[in-house]
């Protein structure tokens, strides 16, 4: 696959013709629509000035004096680029009526409002199934739609802590270890996308829609399956291993030259171990009984790690990686965002990083979407849209409302006019 195939100017897309409507905030919900839009679906996000998504509560660090800049949030690009945006006041019956008209022409609905909110608005599955019987209606919440905690609030990092991930990960001496990327949000979105696609496959063969609910806590426990099974089967708390492995040694993240530079290394199997001893200039290790087998090396992990650190410490992290890779040993630099997005030759050759059109900033970079659809490559549409940016398209073109009808819907406060704001100087 040539890199140019990643983002062609035209060409058929896999989900072309599919329409998704979403009532979402944060990331775990919106990322589903982001990925579907990338594959060619038309995704309409319904927002409200009354209750903006936290993602829109963005103050630019370069221009805090401008206050909240809802269309400029970089998270909004990452999670919502490529969608259509309308603004409705859903506390008014006229607003809800318009939302229902959008649902009536949509295939999929995605929502992650607090438990019970959609039902109260008259936008629950039972209400909407009547106007769109084959609708795939997907709800995501922290805890699921039943159970004593169903109304509890949580964010991605809360779920890291709740699911056991934070306690099971990290070095043995640390009580809990967290990511800077709210991993459960991404996994909830990916499992949600998969759940929706399953329902669409069923619908394509039977014509039937259905309701899907996802608990972000449960999806995150799923990605920890083997660790939980160990606890469930034997009552044992899985030990925190840090960067070590039970099936490869040495393995770790070793210090390299420079400030906060590291290279991860995995030596898997005895043949790789023999080659490794040559590369790190310790041929005597090949005959050393302390390291003669995986079991022996696991037993002498600390000594090995200390000696390997001595070798890596004086070397550039990329030099360590390429030298080991030339000998067929798994090694990789602990890369920063800058390393990956500016310098990674592999990502660059594959055209992974996407340049996305941004209404206020011209262009922005976005992490690629690694779906790898070589026959129907995805692409990200426009970023930086304001609330209500596409009111005219959706109400005019899609629903066929006349300019007069739209105007009176604005006058009664059902449709909220598009927001405008200034961009900070670059």
């Amino acid at each position: 696959m040539a890199s140019s195939e990643r983002a062609p100017a035209g060409g058929a897309q896999a989900l072309q013709g599919l329409r998704v409507v979403e009532f979402t905030s944060g990331m775990a919900g919106p990322w589903i629509g982001r990925l579907m839009a990338y594959c060619g679906a038309e995704v309409i996000k319904i927002e409200s000035q009354q209750r903006p998504s936290v993602v829109r509560l963005y103050v630019s660090p370069r221009a805090p004096e401008l206050g909240v800049q809802a269309a400029l949030s970089p998270w909004f690009t990452d999670w919502d680029a490529g969608k259509r945006f309308v603004a409705l006041d859903l506390t008014r019956p006229e607003g809800v009526a318009l939302a229902r008209r959008i649902v009536a022409v949509s295939d999929v609905l995605v929502e992650n409002y607090s438990s019970g909110v959609m039902e109260k608005l008259g936008l629950g599955y039972e209400d909407l199934e009547r106007i769109r019987p084959d609708l795939v209606y997907f709800s995501s919440s922290g805890y699921g739609d039943t159970g004593p905690c169903r109304r509890y609030v949580s964010w991605g990092s809360n779920i890291e802590a709740m699911s056991g991930l934070a306690t099971l990960s990290g070095f043995p001496e640390r009580a809990c270890t967290l990511t800077q990327f709210a991993y459960p949000d991404a996994q909830s979105a990916l499992h949600g996308l998969f759940a929706v696609l399953c329902a669409l496959d069923h619908r394509s063969r039977t014509g039937e829609g259905q309701r899907i609910t996802l608990s972000q806590l449960e999806a995150t426990v799923c990605v920890l399956g083997p660790l939980l099974m160990q606890q469930l089967a034997r009552g044992e708390e899985p030990p925190r291993l840090g960067n070590a492995s039970l099936s490869a040694a040495p393995q770790g993240c070793y210090p390299c030259r420079g400030e906060d530079r590291w290279c991860a290394i995995t030596v898997e199997g005895d043949a790789a171990w023999q080659r490794f001893c040559e590369v790190v200039e310790r041929p005597e290790w090949k005959e050393d009984p302390r390291f003669a087998s995986l079991t022996a090396r696991l037993g002498h992990r600390a000594e090995l790690d200390a000696a390997i650190s001595q070798w890596t410490r004086t070397r550039d992290a990329y030099e360590v990686m390429h030298t080991l890779q030339r000998a067929g040993i798994a090694a990789g630099v602990a890369q920063t965002a800058e390393d990956e997005f500016r310098h990674d030759a592999q990502l660059k050759a594959r055209g992974f990083i996407e340049e996305v059109e941004h209404l206020a900033k011209g262009h922005v970079l976005a992490p690629g979407i690694p779906l790898g659809l070589t026959g129907t490559p995805g692409r990200t549409g426009r970023a930086g849209a304001a609330m209500g940016q596409d009111n005219d398209y959706v109400f005019g073109e899609l629903l066929g409302m006349s300019p007069d009808e739209i105007r009176s819907a604005v006058l009664v406060g059902a449709i909220e006019p598009a927001a405008t704001e200034r961009a900070p100087a670059p």
């Binding site: 990605v223 970079l365 779906l371």
Partner: protein, 407 residues
């Protein structure tokens, strides 16, 4: 051992030639009803013995990871390299919707069973390849591991404490991430193939999967403010306050993003500790308003949380709509009342005796429910069923293939 399913993918046929980086992809499809046939090398997948094991006797194939990631599948053995093995594989491909594979780039092509060859036999076939770095690029033949992929994908650098070395997540999350992307890609390609009659080659890179998941909160911010995201303990830069806080008997996690949630927290701190300062309007609004007061606010919160147990902070905090949650051990997750009320964990008999409990459905479909239809298959458990029952081989043919080491 697989019961007929009720899942959404019932009737879909998937062939899986996958190591641990792709096994979870096959599980996602199988538990939703697809007929996933796991094709193992003759003698069985070495992943069956990856520790920790359920039963510790070394001879037993009871890797927890293998048992978990291979539920609801059928299992056959096949050596792809001799021509007879290739022919059997191609016969299976004729009736399949998706093939999932994790070989080194170019391996299937060299055997004459790459995407082009499969598409000639079955134009609708989706071939999903999961590899460390993808099928192309200067490093596509580099070696990797879950840890190395997590490093190159940027995850390691932003996990853990500022002054510790970078550290990875438990549970092989690079492989899990690649698998969840691959499962969705396979279905997107399958939906497209159903509509157009044309399948495609899906090229999933584990490094890219980690990158997408890791930088979903980081890149835009870095480009905006020039600050490279790095490790910073338990708090998130953009959320003030956020992090793990001590209680009498353990830790709670707290995150505040909405102005209203801050108000609720400040009120509780004030009520409980008498702190007047916390009500200062300068702390109100979005997190950016509190950024420079983070340390002071953390002190206020500790004064509150240290007065209570984890459970008290959790439930009283949530009653006030503040996102407090316990920092759970695996044991606490296993007996969590919310998961219990939803009957989340599922018990399944193991064919060699005993029962195992599994994490349950990550999603609940009203019409086509998820289900565990059987334990991970034994080595070659479904050889007879598939080769004789479906491909119509005779007992003699099967015996000959076995004698020649093909199955």
């Amino acid at each position: 051992m697989t019961a007929a399913g009720t899942g959404a993918l019932c009737g879909r046929r998937i062939l899986e030639l996958a190591d641990p980086s792709g096994a979870y992809c096959g599980k996602l499809l199988a538990d939703m009803g697809a007929d996933v046939i796991k094709i193992e090398r003759v003698g069985g997948d070495p992943a069956r013995r990856i520790p920790p094991l359920w039963r510790n006797e070394a001879s037993e194939d009871t890797s927890f990871a293998f048992l978990y990631t291979n539920t609801s599948k059928r299992g056959i053995t096949l050596n792809l390299e001799p021509p007879a093995g290739r022919d059997l594989f191609l016969q299976l491909v004729r009736k399949a919707d998706v093939v999932i594979e994790t070989f080194e780039p170019g391996y299937l092509n060299a055997l004459g069973v790459g995407y082009e060859a499969l598409a000639r036999l079955n134009s609708r076939i989706v071939l999903t390849s999961i590899t460390a770095f993808g099928q192309t690029g200067p490093q596509c033949h580099y070696r990797s591991s879950d840890l190395v992929a997590s490093a190159l994908g940027g995850a390691l650098y932003v996990i853990g404490e500022e002054n510790d070395p970078p550290v990875t997540l438990a549970g092989s999350q690079a492989h899990v991430s690649a698998s969840t992307f691959a499962a969705s890609s396979s279905l997107v390609a399958l939906l497209h193939a159903s509509r157009t009659g044309r399948g495609q080659h899906v090229d999933v890179s584990i490094q890219e999967a980690v990158t997408a998941v890791t930088h979903i909160c980081g890149v835009g911010k870095w480009l905006d403010d020039g600050i490279i995201p790095k490790r910073r303990g338990t708090s998130l830069f953009a959320s003030v306050p956020s992090g793990a806080y001590p209680c009498k008997d353990g830790l709670v996690y707290l995150m505040v993003n909405r102005p209203l949630h801050w108000k609720a927290l400040a009120d509780w701190i004030h009520e409980e500790t008498g702190n007047e300062e916390v009500l200062d309007p300068m702390f109100e609004g979005p997190s950016s308003r509190r950024q420079e007061h983070r340390e002071l606010i953390d002190l206020f919160i500790c004064e509150l949380t240290q007065r209570f147990t984890v459970s008290e902070v959790y439930h009283e905090g949530q009653r006030r709509h503040i996102a407090f949650t316990p920092v759970n051990s695996a044991a606490a997750v296993a007996r969590d009342p919310q998961l219990e009320a939803r009957a989340y964990f599922v018990s399944l008999a193991h064919p060699e005796g005993g029962h195992l409990r599994y994490p349950g459905a990550p999603y609940r479909h009203s019409r086509t429910p998820w289900s565990l239809r059987g334990s991970a298959p034994g080595v070659g458990e479904h050889n007879e069923e598939v080769y004789r029952g479906e491909l119509g081989l005779s007992a003699e043919q099967l015996g000959a293939l076995r004698d020649h080491g093909v199955i």
